[in-house]
């Protein structure tokens, strides 16, 4: 076996140009395959990380995003009396009434506006989001026209540095802090004091109410209580589930796009490998004859050629993987169709994608090498030796 691998490797080296051309083709296929999967994974991971498993978000029944949800003050007050809610260190209920509005802001390099989330936050909002840290400046004071800007938004948009002023809702808002929420959706948000924001937008209602459960397992009973209450007409979701659902449409689109591209591209690459391997078999028929005459069996010849094709495709696959791993440094932002707002995320190479890519290139190698290898194995010794 070792002997065969060395023989294969030498062969690949001798026909360098052909090997490189075919391997590069494979590498590009794997690169495209990985990059689309990485976009989808990055988006999913970002939204999943945004939610926290202990938190529950309450919205108006039937609304799919916070922007279109409406919760009246009286209903929010009812929610706050739920006994299952955790207490904050200062003794208050660990619950936040929030308002989400979208505003148009301009990216540094674009002349078209993007939709950015402005979240009106209550006293406990920051406590509820453990991943969010203030890296520069401070939180807005209650009742003031001050905002804190997510790090990713601050980097990519015009006029959102510490100390800048932003005008919307008929007043100027001063950026008093920059918050970093890692790779979660909150890095793409701007936070302001809820009462000021409600005033500015003349909206007397909240969008959502978020609270933390004292005990995670209480969720089902709390959910049932909220959804059964005829006064409320609201629905409750675990925060993780809520954010995961927001990535679904986009992730599905990317998955379909990625899979169909992978199929088409791999068809091309398999054909490329087949062309190369057929040529190898034709050129080396004398070698094959010699090997057979030396006593190697048909099965071994078959395996040998498949192995060569697999080595070729795996090599290409690894190069493709290496190339795509650099994409992890790339941060892209797009409109999430479900929330109609801007979300920034990093491409992510998960272990699953690596395995899938390797399996995929293995499969391409086997499929591309199978038919030529069969031809090689079928050659009769006499014919093979006579062929020129």
């Amino acid at each position: 076996m070792i002997l065969f691998i060395r023989y294969n490797l030498r062969n690949l080296r001798t026909r360098r140009l052909t090997t490189i051309l075919t391997g590069m083709g494979m590498a590009f296929v794997i690169f495209v395959f990985c990059s689309v999967q990485m976009i989808s994974e990055g988006l999913r991971q970002t939204l999943v990380d945004t939610g926290s498993p202990d938190n529950v978000i309450v919205l108006r029944k039937g609304s799919q995003a916070e922007v279109v949800s409406v919760i009246e003050r009286s209903k929010a007050a009812i929610l706050e009396t739920l006994p299952e809610i955790e207490r904050a260190p200062d003794g208050s209920v660990l619950c936040a009434r929030e308002l989400v509005v979208l505003i148009n802001l301009y990216k540094k390099d674009a002349d078209k506006p993007s939709n950015v989330v402005i979240r009106g936050i209550g006293r406990n909002s920051l406590l509820l989001r453990e991943g969010v840290r203030i890296v520069k400046g401070r939180m807005p004071l209650p009742g003031s026209s001050e905002i804190v800007v997510g790090s990713s938004i601050s980097r990519r948009f015009k006029g959102l540095q510490l100390g800048d002023e932003l005008r919307f809702g008929l007043r100027n808002w001063k950026v008093v802090g920059i918050m970093d929420a890692g790779s979660t959706g909150f890095s793409s948000e701007i936070w302001a004091d809820i009462d000021t924001l409600m005033q500015a937008f003349r909206r007397p209602v909240y969008s959502s109410v978020v609270f933390r459960l004292r005990d995670r397992s209480d969720f089902l009973s709390v959910k049932e209580r909220i959804e059964r209450d005829p006064r409320l007409n609201l629905m409750a979701k675990r925060e993780v589930d809520f954010y995961r659902e927001q990535s679904e449409v986009m992730a599905r689109f990317l998955r379909i796009l990625g899979t169909s591209l992978a199929i088409v591209f791999s068809a091309g690459a398999i054909i490329g490998a087949m062309i190369t391997m057929y040529a190898q078999v034709a050129n080396r028929s004398q070698e094959i004859g010699t090997l057979r005459a030396l006593g190697f069996r048909r099965r071994e010849i078959l395996m040998g050629f498949i192995l060569e094709s697999v080595l070729l495709s795996l090599g290409g696959g690894i190069v493709g993987l290496l190339l795509s791993s650099f994409l992890q440094f790339l941060e892209i932002s797009t409109l999430n169709w479900q929330t109609f707002s801007e979300i920034a995320f990093r491409l992510r190479l998960s272990f699953g994608i690596v395995i899938k890519a390797l399996l995929f290139s293995l499969l391409m190698g086997i499929l591309g090498g199978l038919l030529p290898a069969v031809r090689a194995a079928r050659l009769r010794i006499v014919d093979a030796l006579r062929l020129v």
């Binding site: 083709g25 939709n115 937008f201 007397p204 091309g268 062309i275 057929y278």
Partner: protein
């Protein structure tokens, strides 16, 4: 003629290899055409927009409404001919999977602004007269098997509740690029419902649609309209319909760029495959080329032979690919249903297909032909395959 015959003979000497290469190009051209058409579909809204229409929306963002009372003030601006208004309804038909755009609009003026939605006169009258009526695109109607007179129920996501509509009209697009997947109904009907459930939200619209006399004055009129509402509670942003639609495209630009990069990678892959085939072909025939050289043929003849061969291979693949694009696009469109509003293969796409095949053919001939030209006759003749 003799040359062409020789080229064809050469190209199909290694029949299996050539067939495989042609197949690879066919697949690639097919995929490239598809990707191009998907990108075109992205821009379909932009393409379909008219320079004589302006869109006014809330300056804060599209999700913030404007008071209906603005309509009369906009109408007074010089150069404004028609003002219509509407609201993205975002209703769900049975399940979220059945997506189609649906809007609540002011029916008479809206249809006046959109002559590209072709509706038979009596259907149009029936739609305008009945407050519960809706008009649906031909494609959605086919997708869900709707007929005129059917009642459909949409579940509101922005406007809570279940809303019933009666189909009174079906529209067709004036051109193949007109979106035939939309559903429109009366804004009044939704507003009446809101007055009962959410009186605060009633009498507000998502956007005003403005028809103007002279497209050249669009910028001027837009500024004048925005000036009317400066420093009010709901400031407006007016832009041409094209710019408005471009805004949507720009928001999902990242995905668009991905698709564009992928289609470039696709070209590189076929370039690699064809280069490989040509490299192998020429390497095997090196002694023949040496013979030709020994007989006194010039480098021009050799290059003609090699470039001609690779171009024949790529063009054959391209022709098959282009021919196959049409039936497979039809299958694709039927499978996607209303998810894809417009899927129309343009002349430019086909032209681009041919251009790519040609340039791949030429560039994959470069290295092999140089090799054939430069190889010393003696060493090529003594060389063993």
């Amino acid at each position: 003629m003799l040359l062409l015959k020789l080229l064809l003979r050469n190209a199909f000497r290694q029949r299996l290899r050539t067939v495989l290469t042609v197949l690879a190009i066919t697949i690639a051209i097919l995929a490239f055409g598809f990707l191009r058409t998907i990108i075109d579909a992205w821009y379909s809204g932009v393409e379909a927009s008219s320079p004589a229409r302006l869109v006014t929306r809330n300056a804060i963002s599209l999700t913030t409404p404007l008071p209906l009372s603005y309509k009369d003030r906009i109408k007074r601006v010089r150069g404004v001919r028609t003002v219509s208004y509407g609201q993205w309804f975002g209703g769900i038909y049975i399940s979220e999977k059945n997506f189609f755009p649906n809007f609540a609009v002011e029916p008479a003026s809206y249809l006046e602004l959109y002559p590209e939605y072709v509706i038979p006169e009596e259907q149009k009258k029936a739609f305008i007269k009945d407050r519960k009526a809706c008009v649906v695109g031909r494609k959605v109607a086919e997708e869900f098997g709707w007929k005129i007179g059917d009642t459909i129920v949409l579940k509101g996501t922005i406007f809570p509740g279940e809303w019933e509509f009666v189909i009174r009209a079906i529209y067709r697009g004036l051109t193949p690029t007109t979106d035939e997947t939309q559903v429109f109904f009366h804004w009044d009907y939704i507003n009446e419902g809101l007055k009962r459930t959410f009186p605060l939200r009633a009498d507000h619209v998502g956007f005003f649609l403005i028809g103007i006399d002279d497209p050249k004055r669009a910028a001027e009129i837009a500024l004048e309209i925005d000036g009317l509402f400066k420093n009010s509670l709901a400031e407006t942003l007016t832009e041409t319909e094209k710019a408005f639609q471009m805004g949507f495209v720009a928001m999902t630009e990242a995905i668009l760029i991905t698709i564009k990069i992928v289609s470039i990678v696709l070209i590189i892959i076929i370039l690699l495959i064809v280069s490989n085939t040509m490299a192998m072909n020429v390497r095997e025939r090196l002694s023949e080329y040496a013979t030709l050289k020994a007989l006194g043929f010039h480098w021009i003849h050799l290059s003609l032979l090699i470039y001609g061969e690779s171009i024949i291979i790529t063009m054959t693949g391209a022709i098959f690919g282009i021919i196959l694009t049409f039936p497979s696009a039809k299958i694709f469109v039927d499978a996607m249903g209303t998810l894809l509003p417009v899927f129309h293969i343009t002349k430019e796409t086909i032209l681009l297909d041919i251009l790519i095949a040609l340039s791949v053919g030429i560039s994959s001939g470069i290295a092999p032909s140089l090799k054939a030209i430069n190889v010393p006759v003696q060493s090529a003749l003594t060389r063993v395959g």
